[in-house]
């Protein structure tokens, strides 16, 4: 008799656990469903300008037939991406070099650091009016603004990484009589790669955001332009469609930078046996 009693208790616990796990699995589906429901309600309410999911799909198909400013959706996305890539490339090169310089050399940090901090405190977009006044509304000022937005996190993170190299590793260098230049390239920089990559990741997402805003403020191509175009002509489906694309591309960029990090720093990925 006693044996049966214990068996019952155990399976009750197991049943509870199973139920809990099932609820957990279902919850995300419920929340997404609720979100879609909300969206649907918002768009089908009376007098609502809010585009429904169907509107988005329609707009997407329409876009395939009718390019805007002679460019397909993909064309606009690529226009934005191109600006970002160029700006990121230059920002990474200059940013890492500068960051290493002021991270390694205390005097350079004291001399150049404060001015850099001052520039860094200005949101990248605040530069737009100045840049457009100086350089017009072409490609160059846009890329320049994205460059500024992307440069800051790279420098800050690189500088922090280099300045905070573990003394232990530098001691190893001292024991083996490494010259200063060797210490920098063999020890300080590799040891800071994770900080540098944190800067790269931040700069990528920052760059993507800045390019959109820059395009929204004046331009003829790019996803940000599509948003303002939609806004001005009351074509809200276009706005929402663009937003979705922006989100997707942003997520994709984040994944790509992660993959890049895995490739360049294999020792971070490998687990100890």
């Amino acid at each position: 008799m006693r044996k049966t009693k214990i068996e019952v208790v155990q399976s009750e616990y197991e049943r509870k656990e199973q139920l809990r796990r099932r609820i957990y699995a279902v919850l995300p589906i419920i929340s997404v469903a609720l979100l879609l429901l909300l969206w649907f309600l918002a768009s089908s309410a009376k007098d609502s300008n809010f585009p429904s999911p169907k509107d988005i799909v329609d707009r997407f198909i329409l876009f395939l037939h009718k390019p805007i400013k002679d460019m397909s959706l993909l064309g606009h996305i690529w226009a934005s991406l191109k600006r970002v890539f160029i700006a990121l490339g230059v920002a990474w090169f200059l940013g890492i070099s500068f960051g290493v310089f002021i991270g390694w050399n205390k005097k350079a940090n004291a001399l150049l650091g404060p001015m850099f901090t001052a520039f860094r405190s200005v949101p990248p977009l605040a530069w737009v009016p100045l840049m457009t006044m100086w350089f017009g509304t072409g490609e160059f000022p846009k890329v320049l603004i994205v460059f500024i937005g992307a440069l800051m996190p790279v420098v800050v993170n690189t500088q922090a990484g280099i300045a905070n190299v573990q003394k232990l590793y530098l001691d190893v260098g001292t024991i083996f009589n490494a010259k200063s230049r060797q210490m920098l390239f063999e020890i300080a920089i590799p040891s800071s790669l994770d900080a540098i990559f944190a800067g790269i990741r931040t700069s990528t997402s920052a760059g993507w955001m800045v390019v959109l805003a820059a395009e929204m403020l004046g331009g003829k191509s790019g996803v940000g332009f599509l948003i303002t175009r939609g806004m001005d002509s009351g074509d809200y489906s276009l706005c929402l469609l663009s937003m979705i694309c922006i989100g997707l591309v942003g997520a994709l960029l984040a994944v790509i930078t992660q993959v890049l990090e895995r490739i360049i720093c294999p020792w971070t990925a490998k687990k100890s046996s």
Partner: protein, 280 residues
């Protein structure tokens, strides 16, 4: 013994302390001097460059001009329609409202999501979908929904500050030391008590880092929002500066925006020191 020979050159303890302290002070002075030279040098070079015509004065105002304008603009509403003070207050209002809301809603949300699994599973997908969309691109939808005005601007600012608060609070509480949690359980604490007394304090460092990022985001997004759709505020002032081809207004705006940003950062740092002082 060689000790006798050395003791003639040997310093007493106090002398050694003073020597080391003065060496440290000397190098500190050196670095501070370099910093001052760096900043002044930049300003002086800028001034000279414009005065000598290396940089076109139509496009690049002299620093002296900007400083002049700073003082003038407190009382002169031209040409953008508001004095400097009005613009500053306008911007601060929106930024701090959005920022404040973001902390009040975002941090608890992140903490709850990090602690209670059911809540996490429910909120996560919504969050992950909304996250990669940059706040700036929400602007047209927000305008559609709320019209052009304070509410719309505040919402966008809120959204940009909201995300880092949630993420950092979430990450922070997730890394609460399991040892502490288990210890509390052995003391008989309920789940909520552990959450409140152990989880939340452990999460504070990361949360503060998130709050710092949030403030930066809020300020940056505010500037963008004002440039796109507003009738006052520093971002608007800069746009107007461009409209009226007044680079000095633009630069003044940039400097004020940057200065306020620095102010925020140092204020936050002071608050963080007070609250998290025990961590040091």
């Amino acid at each position: 013994m060689s000790k006798k020979v050395d003791s003639a050159e040997k310093l007493t303890d106090e002398e050694r302390i003073l020597l080391v302290q003065s060496q440290k002070r000397h190098s500190d002075y050196q670095l501070t001097a370099l910093s001052v030279i760096g900043v002044l040098g930049f300003l002086i070079l800028w001034q000279i460059a414009v005065m000598l015509g290396w940089l076109p004065s139509r496009y690049v105002p002299m620093p002296s001009r900007v400083i002049q304008l700073f003082f003038a603009k407190w009382t002169d509403p031209n040409p953008d329609g508001a004095t400097l003070g009005v613009n500053i207050i306008g911007s601060l209002q929106v930024a701090l409202t959005g920022f404040g809301l973001a902390i009040v809603i975002g941090v608890p949300l992140g903490l709850l999501m990090g602690w209670f699994h059911a809540f996490d599973k429910f909120m996560r997908p919504i969050f992950e979908i909304l996250r990669p969309i940059p706040p700036v691109s929400w602007i047209p939808i927000t305008i559609l929904w709320m019209g052009v005005g304070l509410k719309a601007k505040a919402f966008i600012v809120f959204f940009s500050a909201f995300v880092p608060c949630v993420i950092n609070a979430y990450t922070g509480i997730k890394q609460t030391s399991p040892v502490l949690i288990n210890f509390s359980k052995t003391c008989g604490a309920s789940n909520f008590t552990i959450f409140y007394k152990i989880g939340i304090p452990s999460a504070m460092t990361m949360t503060f880092a998130g709050v710092r990022v949030a403030l930066g985001n809020a300020w940056a997004t505010l500037v963008a929002a004002e440039m796109l759709a507003a009738s006052n505020g520093l971002g608007y002032m800069i746009q107007q500066g461009r409209q009226f081809a007044r680079p000095d207004i633009i630069i003044l705006g940039i400097v004020v925006i940057g200065a306020i940003g620095v102010l925020f950062t140092s204020l936050l740092a002071k608050i963080e020191d007070k609250v998290l002082g025990w961590k040091k």
